[in-house]
Symmetry: C2
Subunit: 303 residues, 2 copies
């Protein structure tokens, strides 16, 4: 079997999602599902995650449809992680209704030997301790991106600091960046995080795009404005996955290749929100990605 270009670790979930318009029960979700599917358009992607014995075979077929390498997927006796949430009318803010960790509670990410030499690693949003455990298994990473969330900033500051010190890029949303740094201004937040170690920090602002900070400056990464947001779940994971997948196919890593790969992240994320679960990504092809990328570039080619 071929090696993988990119290893992604994160959660696998069965999500119950309610929006103003619709409710969907037990659909395929979780950060690793979205990120791997998004990355698969660009790179050979290995998944590291855990599902329960109740995980529907059709969802395994969905992973296979994307050509995701599943050697790192663990199937454990018990129920799959479940999350349910409801979106406000603005389709941005959401409230968690319930979280059942199930088999995810004892998740210990183990990388198959074939994954350990992967040059690109995406540490999806799981506890920083587990992210560190993954880092300890990769032998020669070229670029590691860690995603995180408010929960870990609040309860696991020390291991999170260690993660931040050891990765090349940290991705988090604006509220989380403010929480982590105790700064209001996003440029100030980004500077503080760069001081902690990484070469890049991406502060995600949902429909407003993202702010990228590097050692040499700031960049404004646009979000593609979609006509109809059906379900925003997983947009950040799809953004990170497509970014890492695309970046892994570039020769070098510098501000230019990082920015360009982030544009791909924006584009794939914008498709992702057009339907529940992976439904839109399942219908996506490289031509549609290229077309929307061109449209997005035209929208910012001004002045």
């Amino acid at each position: 079997m071929q090696d993988v270009d990119l290893v992604v670790v994160g959660s696998i979930g069965l999500d119950t999602i309610e929006t103003k318009y619709e409710r969907q029960e037990d659909v395929l979700g979780g950060s690793v599902s979205y990120a791997c599917a998004a990355a698969s358009f660009f790179a050979r992607t290995g998944m590291v995650g855990v599902a329960g014995t109740d995980f529907p075979e059709e969802f395994m077929d969905c992973y296979r449809h994307f050509g995701i390498d599943l050697e790192g997927l663990q199937l454990q006796e018990g129920s799959t992680f479940r999350w349910s949430g409801v979106y406000e009318d603005d389709m941005i803010n959401r409230r968690t209704l319930s979280t059942c960790l199930n088999v995810f509670a004892d998740f210990m990410p183990e990388l198959p030997v074939r994954y350990q030499s992967a040059p690109y690693v995406l540490l999806g949003n799981i506890s920083p301790e587990l992210q560190l455990h993954v880092l300890s298994q990769v032998t020669a990473p070229k670029f590691v991106l860690a995603d995180t969330m408010d929960l870990w900033i609040n309860i696991a500051d020390e291991p999170l600091q260690e993660v931040i010190r050891r990765v090349n890029m940290l991705a988090l949303n604006d509220g989380e960046a403010r929480l982590l740094t105790q700064e209001q201004n996003l440029k100030g937040c980004a500077r503080r995080i760069l001081d902690m170690g990484p070469d890049y920090v991406v502060i995600k602002k949902g429909e407003h795009g993202a702010l990228l900070a590097s050692r040499s400056g700031f960049y404004l990464i646009p979000a593609f404005p979609v006509d109809d947001v059906v379900d925003p779940t997983g947009a950040g994971d799809a953004f990170a996955g497509a970014f890492m997948g695309r970046l892994s196919q570039q020769d070098g890593i510098d501000d230019k290749t990082v920015c360009e790969a982030l544009l791909y992240g924006s584009v794939v994320a914008s498709f992702n929100v057009e339907a529940f679960s992976l439904n839109r990504l399942e219908l996506l092809d490289k031509q549609a990605i290229a077309d929307r990328l061109a449209a997005l570039k035209a929208m910012i080619r001004i002045g």
Copy 2:
């Protein structure tokens, strides 16, 4: 005396502003003050507004410092319009504490003869009836931009519709666009507004930039991320003023010149929020504008 390139109508106010860090009393404000000051870096700008006999001479000097043409400024017996408000910690949302219309209550904008042939007209945020009264006095406008706000959408829908029908561009913020069109999605909002008549609509999103819609497509106008927002008051007016000032110096009006002029709007607005009142704009020069414009362009020159 020379003719003016641009006529701006709007409010003149003495503002009392409170932020998390500071409180400033009776500082020079009002939409026409910000817009004219911003426009003055690019164009011969005529002000149409009203102040009371209590209007401090130093504020007249401030207008003169910018080289604003003041023939259209009325001084009426009584007190100047006063507004006071307090910003939340996010420096975006604000609450009005008090509004005293004073001489502004009976404001009737009359254009000096020299202004009536001005090719560019900025209808700042005043009642749509007054905006129409200004429109009735200009003889051959080449490009008219109208700004508006939620108040007029709520209480003066019919005259506002007439304004929208008759101008080349409407500017409003995201919440107002949703209120006006009863649509949630901003692209949808923009399409509806274009259907009402204008060639362009700019939906302002504060620190997140703006969405421009034209007959041929959408553009993402970035905001320049500033290090320290001291007072956001007047940012939208400075944005519109600098835009119109710059546009009036271009040969043609098309998507390219409009986008380019909007970038100037972003840049001048970003300076404006770095201090209270017109304090930062008073220290500004063309070189600083050019430098920041170059920096902003570099931040979006990606992919």
